[in-house]
Symmetry: D2
Subunit: 401 residues, 4 copies
């Protein structure tokens, strides 16, 4: 596959799949195993216990599904809802759009609350819908915690507060694909009923494991939900959990070991330190964007995302050309603008197992590309702005002797 | 994960997941990549073209779905059928049972044709159903090519012949999970409409890729099929195929490279040679079973499977104890008996990237276990019977200088 | 490198390099590191401490030299002896021959004690030489613990006893290349002054690390030894040991991690269990050879080697053809006969990270090859003989749950 | 080995061992093999042929020795020279010092030509020595092409010219450890008799292979050279070359495959492109150093090294603290100052499989460290200076589609 090779390392800054740390690559470098031996259930048990920690839940039940984020969405919806159920869903970018598309195709009655791309979920509209819904026709509120297309982080605590304020029993379903394990996420505290992520995001693994966590209320709902489902049915998992063999169908042995290694690394660094690192990387990126005189697609600071930054380019520039040049000249992989922001934004993913100097490499690459294509950037300006913030902020690496 | 380690190599003889050859492990030993770069679509194109060869189809359209065999089943059914559709489905063992369970839960009207476990699909019943079905209420015939629980291989050509004889337009859906790439399989010649397998079977990869291949007739059917589906919807794949970017959602980069390597190995050995090797391994296994004085669960030679052999133990032996001892004492992984044959049979998987001496290691291990637990076996007898057949039969390794 | 690939796993039964266990392959699957960081010395310290355990020494000082067994020999000799020094050295096969060749080229005065190939070191001759050497002109006794060419294990305790009986101060230098970590080896108890092995033998790692362990007496001798040496000079190592940075020149980062993993596996299994396993495999191999009606190159039971068996073929058979067929037809790698036994013996290496079923695979392959080339072997006979011994002998795998 | 882990990738900028590209790591991720099978010699043959290309020799004979650079030095010297032989050797830094130390300990009569550290070899002195040496007592001129301790590149063409001018028959021995495959190096054109490098340098492999290339004149000299040698003796290699089995003792299978992959990558990029890339990285580094107001240890432009830059820090700063902070805070590995420049310089290695953004990451890290420890650096200044040069200079990656 020669068309992939370039000298040196690829600088991978798409917002997923992200860089896999060496210990995880190593852990996955193995032959298959009999998943019905005593060893796999023993390991699975530790995984299920430990994965709850990254959701910050003690009462939730996790499912490690051989699928992607799209499948995890489907698992969340079909296990808790019935066709025709009314759900409120926020459209704020490409990924929330895709989820809504799925919701509609799954025959739910989707009450779409749309915001301009670059804005967060309009919670005022939610408030009025909840207020009006005395008969509790709204069965679920669905929200993307972090919209990967625009770099917008929604306020989940505020959603919970509204549900509480209106004493509304709707299920609270959250796409945490580009947030869990990177942003502040509190499943139990925020009363989230289903939260989900994918292995190739902040967990820094290959694609292939959809991780879904269900609250007791969601588990209860699954007993009566009428959506047709088999592959995604939690019931089969729960049956095998009870049997102690855990797997209704063949898991990827490699991903199980990969998850074990990924969780070990996260706990070694400390989940709070991981989140703080993402916060540093996010802020540094935004300072660089500002120094370049470019605009963040995210319109207000309250929505700034610490895992992905969508950068708006001037009208005379095609953002796809920026991405193309990164690939062809600098061995730098940036994210394209999607759908209505195609050509208008490019995206820097700064999530997963990543450190500050890696980010500065990316920023220096973006500067050179901008100059390449005629944007009047001062080389070094973004790096300087980011470094000025980072230099006093980066802690010593705790695990290092 | 110390509870997995034993000195020497694990002898993996479950009928999936199977041994991964070193070149495939190597190919997958890599960081993530941007799947929207030009490289991934370029590689995907070669994969889609080459994967058709293992189905022996030129007109089929393959889908490489991030899922397992269970998901591949769901993809085959939901894309081609509508709730309430009548399908004829053969119950001959645990995996056909599970597929039928899925068919029922997906709300099809399943006309189950049951055989005793150890027998093949009862095609006489199919014949009479087809004969009676003048109005073509049967929308699909679903059959497992190779029932992994009992080691029974069904005659797909005969199914096609019946459909042709009765000029019946029913779709012909085939689970080739433990057959494709190991047994003689001819999608186009046998007029199969949807065929599917999983990466962890004869392709000898990790679990995680469901490979589904659809005939033009199946693609046509998918345009009107009313089963609710999103994650498994072929439409999304076809849309991205047309766009040349190929992936509606994130694929596993590692599995793509793994598939590339797996196909390369198969073509290097020669697909016909691969199938001939499985034939040798299957026959050798049966000769050993016979030498031990044990019965093959498969009742007639016409159904003998060249990928898995289910061995019936005498009533006074618990077959699960055989499997347990293999694991604990001999680093040998055998397949358990499932469902109604639990405790009564154990299974030897002899599929995938495997050679004759590996099989003889397994057979010598089984002999020792049998002796361990008090079955009056003559040590060496099974190996001798298998070797007597293999010795004159094994060809020189073609790739070797 | 297609000319290497064959379906299934290679059955590697040369007496080195041997099979590498997966955990060691994984541990070595990594980028380079700065060997002057605090981490590498910290790890090196644990390696030096732990490697002494496999020599069974507490007072010895180990050197992990980036070289092969041949270099380890040179390290042992040049650090302890001066040109012209008289040494007694036993010629019993190809590897002792090569060591003697090195001794002579390094300008020592080598007093060669030759035995017929297939016999052990003639200790009677040593006794008379020691008896006659009142003036202690013999500076060292050099012996190969296990002659890999003929499968002969020498009695080191007896050598020590002779030295003690005659109160002879000669240094006792031992090639433990195919013994240490597989056979009973007791550096301190047997008063060995320099013992050495290579990473690719019983440690089951790649080639590239010569492991030499020196007694205090050997270290003392190194201070006055006049042999010219730089790369192999212990002095440079000792200087860096004192500095706590450990490495006079760049070590292989990968082999350091590989050694860490290899030692961890050995300690997990238990060194005594490892040695017992080799004993089982050795005996099983000899029983098979006997069942085939073939002769062990080793002439007496007292010299039988538990790590390698050299099998004598009848005069009308070319043993090289056996090896060639193993490679071309069975994906089985056997050892050639070397030098004067070329064409007359082939060798089965049964050392390193290996289990019983792997050995039985090898034995079943040898049987088929023998039959292929017209030797009147009863297929299954060797496997049966070996299995009859192994079946009641193999313990449960201790680490397995 | 937790004390090694830090979030994200290690930024490895010591001048060896350097970053290993993924394809090389993958190629080495394998079990051992029988090195006496037909496959290993077949591969070795291609390696010996291809490795000559990186030396730019057609008449030289390469040796792939299981050793380090120190061993490669010893191989070059002992095979071509006899004890007492007069050699002219240039002392310009730590590595030339170590080589001279070896030369002296090997009992050559070393005529040391010393320069101040930071200067190149004093060729005027060489000229006068050659002029005076009518009787050709000088048997060899030994020079380090690129002194890794100070970042000084010597002019090999000028050395050859002097030898030619004086029609002096001395052998021309060159340490190309940190130059070959990175700097312009022309063995045949410059009449070099022995050139050598190590696998962990510009070839970007693990440590463990010393690569020595000998001219026909050197091979001729080896026939009469009286230095004692066995492990390093070319004669044994040549004997096995003639036999077509190539290896006098066990090679590292993994390093053979690693070398194959490393050479393939170099030829894919193009050796001239590889050298040009090093030239870019070297110049960019020097521009950054200049922007920081720091001094290059190398005193004149003619000696600037494109593989390593030694940066002089002000007297009030301890350069070891810079290296320590890189490790503890930024996951950045820099080279220490050695011997008389310890504490006074730190080193940036910019050789091997490395790209421009990786270098900019390193430079941005150095800036932050400098600021951390109180040096008045303007953050971004070095990156800006380097980027200004690089931005218009980096070519498109040729292999990329």
């Amino acid at each position: 596959m020669d068309y992939v090779y370039g000298p040196g390392r690829n600088h991978l800054f798409v917002p997923g799949p992200v860089n896999i740390p060496e210990p995880v690559i190593r852990a996955m470098n193995r032959n298959n195993e009999d998943y019905r031996s005593p060893a796999v259930p023993a390991m699975t048990k530790t995984l299920l216990e430990d994965v709850k920690k990254i959701f910050k839940t003690t009462s939730g039940i996790p499912f490690l599904i051989p699928t992607t984020g799209t499948g995890a969405w489907e698992s969340a919806l079909t296990n808790t809802l019935s066709p025709g159920d009314r759900i409120v869903s926020f459209l704020i970018g490409q990924f929330s759009l895709l989820w809504i598309d799925q919701q509609q195709r799954l025959n739910f009655n989707v009450d779409v609350v749309e915001s301009e791309w670059g804005q967060g979920a309009n919670l005022d509209v939610l408030a009025s819908k909840l207020a009006a819904d005395r008969s509790h026709t709204i069965k679920a509120v669905c929200i993307v915690h972090n919209e990967t297309a625009t770099g917008v982080t929604n306020n989940l605590a505020a959603v919970r507060k509204l549900l509480d304020d209106y004493r509304h029993p709707a299920l609270f379903l959250v796409d945490g694909v580009s947030s869990i394990c990177a942003l502040d996420f509190r499943m139990d505290e925020w009363g989230i009923d289903v939260a989900l992520t994918g292995s190739q995001k902040a967990l820094s693994m290959p694609t292939g494991m959809g991780i879904v966590c269900a609250s007791p209320k969601a588990i209860e709902a699954s007993k009566t939900a009428k959506s047709v489902r088999v592959f995604f049915d939690w019931k089969d998992y729960l049956k095998f959990y009870n049997m102690g063999t855990f797997w209704p169908y063949t898991p990827s042995i490699q991903l199980l070991y990969g998850l074990r290694a990924a969780l070990d690394l996260i706990f070694e660094e400390g989940l709070e330190n991981v989140i703080a690192r993402h916060s540093r990387l996010g802020k540094a990126t935004r300072l660089a964007v500002n120094a370049w005189g470019l605009k963040n697609c995210t319109q207000k600071e309250e929505w700034y995302s610490d895992t992905v930054t969508a950068v708006v380019v001037p009208p005379y520039i095609d953002s796809a050309e920026i991405v193309r040049r990164g690939w062809k000249r600098y061995n730098l992989s940036l994210g394209l603008g999607l759908n209505i922001v195609a050509g208008k934004v490019f995206r820097i993913g700064h999530l997963g197992n990543l450190n500050e100097l890696q980010l500065l490499a990316c920023l220096s690459g973006v500067e050179m590309i901008l100059k390449d294509i005629g944007y009047p950037v001062k080389l070094g300006s973004g790096v300087a702005a980011a470094a000025a913030y980072l230099q006093g902020t980066i802690p010593m690496i705790p695990s290092r002797i």
